[in-house]
Symmetry: C2
Subunit: 250 residues, 2 copies
DNA sequence: CCAAAAGTGTTTCCGTTACACCCATGC
DNA sequence: GCATGGGTGTAACGGAAACACTTTTGG
């Protein structure tokens, strides 16, 4: 719901699939911490999840992909449905009306548009280095630490919490580290991701042992020279194991 | 989409949430086998999943509950979202048009209705004894063995397969047996459910040991007199453990 | 007398957990 | 000289897997 959308509201609405939108909880990992991408319209005072409409002729999953690409520049992204938020909730509609009024649009103009929209929640993991946050004049983006999410618009705090819950439930089936880390990474980074998602501390010796015993990662016998002292060993993922995971899951 | 719905199509359509429907994969357990409930309109030649529209002012989850209650008579049912099927697929629309024509309705009458509807998939587990299949003149219901599902309308075979995949992924978090079995049950029944869902055979000694070690079930020290020889011991679920499971999951 | 179905124990194996010190650098 | 942060090994425990025979009724 950006400026352009509202300026052509009556026309815009002809091209969208009614009754359903997508919202994306986009995770990344940077400086040893899990982060979530949030979005703010200049005319709105609260942050919110990146989301958007579905075009009439567009697959719903494709709409989520498009939203993600529009925001991060990343194609070919890892994206999974986790929950449909389908409460018939006045609060969301009221917030929408307020936003429209901020844009100077009479709220009684388009009754169809003011019906409830259900929101399909997607989570995604992206590599921090590959992201190019694409900002427009009235539309800004920022990464927030997972443990420092502000109060968001609509029910978006609930959506993030639910995403994390669903990720934990599916944890063993998701190639999370693979999506978040660059080609070469350290075991400590992998452990920090696990800790960030699961919300617990993990014994570092046991974690290392477990990772090496699984055939998920392969040592490159190479240390990262850019680090100060103890220069950490680098690993890569075992593509075969990752592919097996991805196959199972589909 | 029953007869009454079509007879009042123009009016019916005023009251429904556009763009989204629900489809339910309802599992039960009977005679040692997992079964799925299917539905057939007399005017249609293929079986399909029970499903339905969402009313304008109705929560999406509530619509799924209502659909389930209308078909099985069961209130207060265990029901979980598992996937949104949102392909922009001509085939579904063509099947819908065909069905409308069977009801004698011109297919170009209501363009809104012929737009793509995304379908939210729910799975559910119900106790066979509590079900009262509610049939109408043009609308019949039948339980099918999980390993003998016929070819269904729309993409409904795909929906069932996905439901099973998602149940397997969440298996440890779902109180499946608890939903499917009566108050008193045998360990063999519980094992058959596991085998049915996971699609594998399970060693009966190990399974028994595991169940007794978990505090999921409690022996009633009582055998089922109605069985022939070896009269099996009866167990009940430990309500506390079940409640913990249900809490985690929400 | 034999087919059917529930019940029963032991051993092996492997993954999980708990736990404390070393080392070289940069400040 | 000390704070930082990655790396290292062992022992105890517990859950998972493999595996075969007994029992009695009903036909």
């Amino acid at each position: 719901m950006s400026k352009i959308f509202f300026e052509n509201l009556e026309q815009s609405i002809q091209n969208i699939h009614l009754g359903l939108v997508v919202d994306c909880v986009i995770f990344t990992f940077h400086e040893q911490k899990m982060k979530v991408l949030l979005n703010k319209y200049v005319l709105n005072d609260k942050w919110m999840l990146p989301g958007g409409f579905i075009f009439k002729d567009e697959d719903v999953d494709a709409a989520a992909k498009r939203v993600l690409k529009e925001r991060t520049g990343i194609d070919n992204v890892f994206l999974r449905q986790f929950h449909l938020f389908g409460k018939n909730d006045r609060v969301n509609i009221d917030e929408k009306i307020k936003l429209m009024e901020n844009y100077g649009i009479a709220s009684d103009k388009l009754p169809t548009f003011l019906n409830r929209f259900a929101s399909m929640g997607y989570f995604s993991f992206v590599k921090f280095d590959e992201v190019n946050l694409i900002e427009k004049e009235d539309d800004i983006y920022q990464w927030f630490d997972l443990d420092a999410i502000p109060q968001l618009s609509y029910n978006h705090n609930e959506i993030i919490n639910k995403a994390i819950k669903m990720i934990r439930i599916q944890f063993d089936y998701l190639p999370i580290g693979y999506q978040l880390l660059p080609k070469k990474f350290t075991i400590v980074e992998l452990r920090k991701i696990n800790e960030g998602i699961l919300g617990i501390e993990v014994d570092k010796r046991n974690f290392r042992k477990k990772m090496l015993a699984s055939n998920l990662i392969i040592s490159l016998n190479e240390v990262r020279q850019t680090d100060p002292y103890p220069k950490p060993n680098l690993y890569k993922f075992n593509q075969e194991t990752i592919n097996e995971l991805l196959d199972q899951e589909t």
